[in-house]
């Protein structure tokens, strides 16, 4: 009788350990799944679009194309937008401080989608401060 009782106790112990291990395994899987999906906000596509927009505005400013746009000459900005990769749409608007829009250009035949990335760059022209806003998305 005692032997039977010991065997039963041992089986019960193993069952308990297995149950604990199963619970631990379930927790691990849940944590793993949560961790992977919680990073879904890190969108590499948006990250790439952001880099394109930042680089574009830097190039436009350093080549004085933003200055030219304030003078009403949008040729270089339009050429730049037209030369963007075929799968990327872009708009560039120039503002005088917070007093409203001065010029706006968009890539022809292209519509900005809802998943848009916006960047800005300040610049000085004839001692006045302006800023350019670029919106880019995959089109």
């Amino acid at each position: 009788m005692e032997k039977i009782g010991l065997r039963k106790n041992r089986k019960g112990l193993i069952f308990t350990i297995d149950a604990i291990l199963a619970i631990l395994a379930t927790i691990m899987i849940l944590i793993s799944v949560y961790s992977i999906f919680s990073n879904s906000h890190f969108n590499s596509e948006n990250n790439d679009l952001n880099k394109i927009a930042l680089d574009s505005l830097t190039v436009l400013e350093k080549n004085d194309y933003l200055d030219q746009s304030v003078s009403g000459n949008l040729t270089m900005i339009n050429n730049f937008l037209a030369a963007l990769p075929s799968n990327i749409c872009g708009n560039i608007s120039v503002y005088y401080q917070d007093k409203g829009i001065i010029t706006s250009s968009k890539k022809p035949g292209c519509l900005i989608s809802d998943n848009v990335v916006v960047t800005r760059r300040a610049f000085v022209f004839e001692h006045k401060t302006y800023f350019a806003k670029m919106e880019v998305s995959y089109g």
Binding site: I14, M28, S32
Partner: protein, 281 residues
């Protein structure tokens, strides 16, 4: 049976721990990418504000800083001067826009300290102050200055009057001054004199007046170097006309330190702080 079950449990655990290790590595990689991205964006904002703003606002263009038998700091443009030009106001306007609007639009914290129309040539500690109608250069270490060449281009249509030419102090610091009319590019005045930095020297001056003379139609441009409060002070002034310094070359004795044109202004974006440097050797 027990041994097989135990082995099965161990293998399952090892596999699950491997998955957990993979997830931790993945998380770390994502965090590194996000940190790198944040740093890149902050660098972009820093470049946006620091790179050209000061020189564009003040019309300053540094050609180069060269070191041969002496050190030359060479500007092709060193500001415009007229009574209706408020350099401090221009800088305040830019600063306020960046601190208020730009920071709000980009969701970052920006502060700018000591953003004023002044800069220093270090290690010589020459202090350039761009005022309304005049440029003042204080040179506490004037003994290290060898020569200064200055061109002032004036926006004036009146006839040039009688030029004022200072006397020479041979063996002292050479000052070369030219006044040029903007419309015709004609050199109206060209003088080179050695000047004692510790004396109150007469000025290099060119007046303009209408013909026949009309008391309300007079203007002038002048350069003076010497002791006007402190030894070794240089002052370029305009009166009733707009003058633009289109050449400013200052030659110093060579120094062991690297020459830097430092505005003394400081930019802080979130927690990252940087100095606004116009040029360095």
């Amino acid at each position: 049976m027990d041994k097989r079950g135990f082995l099965f449990t161990i293998i399952s655990l090892i596999m699950l721990i491997s998955i957990l290790a993979f997830v931790i590595a993945y998380q770390n990689r994502i965090k590194e990418l996000q940190d790198a991205d944040t740093v890149n964006i902050l660098r972009y904002y820093e470049d946006d504000i620091v790179s050209n703003s000061y020189s564009d606002l003040m019309d300053i263009n540094v050609v180069n800083i060269s070191k041969k038998t002496n050190t030359l700091v060479n500007f092709s443009s060193l500001g415009k001067y007229a009574l209706d030009r408020d350099n401090q106001g221009i800088m305040n306007n830019y600063r306020n826009f960046i601190i208020d609007n730009y920071s709000r639009l980009n969701n970052i914290n920006i502060s700018m300290d000591n953003f004023v129309p002044e800069f220093y040539v270090k290690p010589y500690n020459s202090k350039f102050s761009l005022g309304t109608g005049s440029l003042t250069v204080l040179n506490p270490n004037y003994t290290q200055i060898q020569r200064i060449n200055i061109d002032v281009t004036v926006n004036e249509t009146l006839d040039a009057g009688t030029a004022v030419i200072p006397s020479a102090d041979p063996g002292k610091i050479t000052i070369n001054v030219r006044f040029i009319r903007r419309s015709s590019k004609e050199i109206l005045y060209s003088q080179e004199k050695d000047q004692d930095p510790t004396e109150v020297n007469p000025e290099f001056k060119l007046p303009f007046r209408s013909d026949p003379p009309n008391p309300t139609e007079v203007s002038s441009v002048s350069v003076k170097f010497g002791n006007y409060g402190t030894d070794g002070m240089l002052m370029i002034s305009t009166s009733s006309l707009e003058g633009e310094i289109t050449r400013f070359e200052i030659y110093y004795d060579n120094s062991d330190s690297r020459t830097i044109i430092d505005t003394g202004a400081n930019l802080k974006i979130n927690d990252k702080s940087s100095d606004i440097i116009l040029a360095q050797q």
